[in-house]
């Protein structure tokens, strides 16, 4: 386990900035004087309290399976992939949101994209190909994706037209159970 390098940190924050508007809250100091840090172990990036990260140094890298919140994985080409486990953090400071009706929640959780007919409401002024968090009508985060159309264009779209391309959904906790935390 090690802290991120300059380039890695930039890549991770760049990806997070697609979905979140306020990144500074991520590393803001906590009330108890602690703060959150990013740590890398087995090419996975974890978002963890500094005190816990310091404690974790007593565990060998091979034996350390996970700590804190796993944000995603660094690929071998130096890119960063967000995992569904990062959803609670993304949902907190989401820049754009899409609320999905009840009839659209299940298809989304089974891995399909969001179509216009399933959208209950969406945030205004959302450009296309921008990261957004998908929520149910009762404000429960279901996953995240990338907008297929801008809000204005999406209004003119037919009901079967795709509004948001899925990137990750909560169904992955079951579908990718084997590979989500290791491998």
């Amino acid at each position: 386990m090690r802290p991120l390098t300059d380039a890695e940190m930039k890549t991770v924050l760049d990806k997070l900035a697609n979905y979140m508007s306020d990144l500074k809250s991520l590393i803001a100091p906590l009330e108890d004087g602690d703060r959150y840090v990013f740590r890398l172990n087995h090419s996975r990036v974890y978002y963890v309290k500094l005190s816990i990260a310091n404690l974790a140094t007593s565990i060998s890298r091979d034996n350390l399976l996970s700590l804190g919140t796993c944000l995603g994985k660094m690929t071998k080409t130096g890119k960063f992939r967000l995992h569904i486990t990062a959803l609670p953090i993304l949902a907190q400071g989401a820049r754009h949101k899409i609320w999905v009706k009840e009839n659209g929640a299940q298809p989304f959780l089974y891995g399909s994209n969001v179509v216009k007919a399933h959208v209950g409401r969406w945030s205004e002024d959302c450009p296309e190909h921008q990261g957004c968090v998908v929520l149910s009508m009762s404000d429960v985060p279901l996953g995240f994706g990338v907008t297929a159309r801008s809000t204005a264009e999406a209004r003119r779209l037919d009901p079967t037209g795709i509004v948001c391309f899925r990137q990750a959904d909560c169904g992955e906790y079951l579908r990718d159970e084997d590979t989500l935390f290791a491998g």
Partner: protein
């Protein structure tokens, strides 16, 4: 003694039996003769015979050792993806530089956020401009369509009026003709002749 024997035996192997007597018969060979003449002792013989062997082995080794690297041959390197952090400029210290203090993290964060904000803002502006252009085009197209429709309606109206006028004139003419016909043919109106096409074949 033992090593010389083994060497001799080994030497004898490839030469197929010419060896045992070969000590002196090998006198025909200059090298062997000289060595024997010089020493007459066992030591030099061993040395000579040992010399022969390592030389052969050494040649083989030399041949095998000559392996050229890609750099020596000047072969261009393969196109490969070089991951971030792998390529390092020369003269710099080895190892990774970690970002763990709040200040440097804040700096990176501010840079990233500013970049992202700029990108999103420009995207939004672009989208708005495109939307305006689309709206203007749509309005123009609607206008054109309305004009075309109005023109069509006008033409239709004109045609209708014209037809009405023509009908009125034609009706008047028909009445005159009818009266004239009636006058000439009496009250019995002649049936209009049915025009039927007939085909006749020429008789042979």
């Amino acid at each position: 003694m033992a090593p010389t024997r083994t060497v001799k035996n080994k030497h004898a192997g490839p030469k197929s039996g010419g060896k045992p007597g070969g000590g002196k018969s090998g006198g025909s060979k200059t090298g062997a003769g000289v060595s024997k003449g010089k020493g007459g002792k066992k030591g030099p013989i061993v040395a000579q015979q040992m010399k022969g062997k390592p030389n052969i082995a050494g040649l083989d080794k030399k041949k095998k050792k000559k392996v050229y690297t890609a750099k020596e041959l000047g072969i261009p390197e393969l196109n490969m993806v070089t991951p971030v952090g792998v390529t390092k400029p020369k003269g710099k210290k080895k190892g990774k530089v970690f970002v763990d203090d709040r200040e440097s993290m804040n700096t990176i964060l501010a840079i990233v956020q500013a970049e992202k904000e700029g990108a999103i803002e420009s995207k939004l502006i672009k989208a708005r401009q495109m939307e305006e252009i689309r709206e203007a085009r749509r309005i123009e197209a609607e206008k054109k369509e309305a004009e075309r429709k109005a023109k069509l309606e006008d033409t239709k109206e004109a045609l209708r009026k014209k037809r009405k006028r023509d009908d009125g004139k034609k009706k008047g003419d028909d009445d005159d003709v009818n009266i004239k016909e009636m006058a000439s043919a009496g009250t019995k109106a002649a049936k209009p002749k049915s025009v039927k096409k007939r085909v006749s074949f020429a008789a042979e």
